[in-house]
Amino acid sequence: MNFLNQTAAILWKDILTEYRTKDALTSMLLFGLLVILMFHFAFEPDSLETEKYGPGLLWMTFVFAGILGMNRAFAGERENDSLQGLMLAPVDWGAIFLGKMLANFLFMLVVETIILLSFTLFFNFDLLHRLSWMVTITLLGTLGFASIGTILAAISMNTRMSDVMLPLLLLPVALPAVIGAVQATAAAFTDPPGEALTFWVKFLVVFNIIFVTLPLLLFEYVLEE
């Protein structure tokens, strides 16, 4: 029970800090919208192409906005050495990871909903068609990405060039989640939803199980000095 309270406390603290400063949300959102703009100018997709490339563009935007968010994941902890303050508390260090991870996960979801809506606006994506599938896929894809992103953010926080190191380490490792999410989204948007849809959703579930438990176990070695 204690583990959940501790995680909830850290999550509450991050949400409150974000609510007060809105640093992460604004930067991620702005960046996401800019990426959409870039896609428009880079590809000038007509309706046929958006159908085909829509899922890919969507998840590319999510990934880039997500990386921006992850880079700031431990910024709050670095001021005043607050991370050491957390480590000094009688807390299971896994709870620190879970609290931070869920906070990042939440921020990404908020940004993704807005980006998703703007996608329907700019590229007249027919979203409502498959809303329930879309929600599950986004939840699963973002959870795996946020989990790997959080532990790699904690790792690259100790390096000299942390904002370069994070994407370098995160993108290759999180690729299967992106592949799964893109394929699932594409399958969700074909008229009779492609039979690949359930397959890729199951793939994402397995991916999440592995890549939430593994970082939970490894996180204490990242904090330890």
């Binding site: 007060r20 005043n80 303050g85 957390l86």
Partner: protein, 243 residues
């Protein structure tokens, strides 16, 4: 209040700690009995703060045994840390939260009961009631340190670990800290402070330990003035040497 029976508050046996190739602590053995007020003196880099962090188990020693209130820190780090109050140079506080929110966060993190009363009492005691609902980003260094002291007392620790707490404090905060330390020691609890400033908060110290190059060089139990001269001589002997 969990007043259990333990005689040795802090016991570490031949603890070694290397950071890569250079050793920070070498075969350090100390026992701090309940009620002791021990001060670690030594130059920067002598291993004082590493020793404190090994005791609080945020640094894992390469070798050696660490026990807090008779409990092995490796087996149950959380129970051990519940008994420790740690005040260091940095305040561990969150700039964008208000004083009250900061304290509330830590009461929740520590899983304490009657959280609101504890937060209110702590704020009142360090005199930050008036500005308890403004983000602490606007606080002076002294006010932040007072809040950090309030934070360290929320869970009624048995043992107080202090790592250069007086550095950067204004007079008012320094006096508050010294007064609190005195009351803390008087109530039979244990204090271990690492410092190299010989002016503040040193009444009631009953054991002085000199550290150099990660090793305990000398221990004294004399009066403050005697110790101060010996410490100055200790530093002179090691002028030029690498720490």
């Amino acid at each position: 209040m969990h007043t259990d029976s333990y005689t040795s508050a802090l016991r570490i046996e031949n603890v070694e700690k290397w950071f890569g190739q250079n050793s920070a602590l070498e075969a350090v053995t100390i026992e701090v009995r309940r009620g002791d007020f021990m001060v670690l003196l030594g130059r920067n880099g002598a291993g004082k703060s590493t020793l404190l962090r090994v005791m609080a188990r945020i640094v894992k020693p390469n070798h050696g045994q660490v026990e807090i209130c008779g409990m092995d820190v490796r087996r149950n780090p959380e129970a051990a840390r519940r008994r420790l109050g740690f005040v260091a140079h940095s305040s561990y506080l969150y700039r964008h939260l208000t004083a009250r929110e900061n304290l509330r966060f830590f009461t929740r993190l520590y899983g304490l009961e009657d959280q609101e009363q504890r937060v209110q009492a702590a704020l009142k005691w360090v005199g930050l009631e008036a500005s308890s609902d403004r983000p602490i980003v606007g606080f002076s260094r002294g006010m932040q340190q007072r809040l950090a002291i309030a934070r360290a007392t929320l869970h009624d620790p048995e043992i107080l670990l202090l790592d250069e707490p007086f550095s950067g404090l204004d007079l008012e905060a320094a006096e508050l800290l010294a007064a609190w330390m005195k009351r803390f020691a008087a109530s039979g609890k244990t204090i271990l402070m690492a410092t190299h400033d010989l002016e503040h908060g040193l009444e009631g110290v009953n054991r002085w330990v000199f550290l150099d190059k990660g090793r305990i060089v000398e221990e004294l139990t004399g009066a403050y003035t005697v110790v101060r001269d010996r410490y100055k001589q200790f530093l002179r002997e090691r002028k030029g040497e690498l720490s």
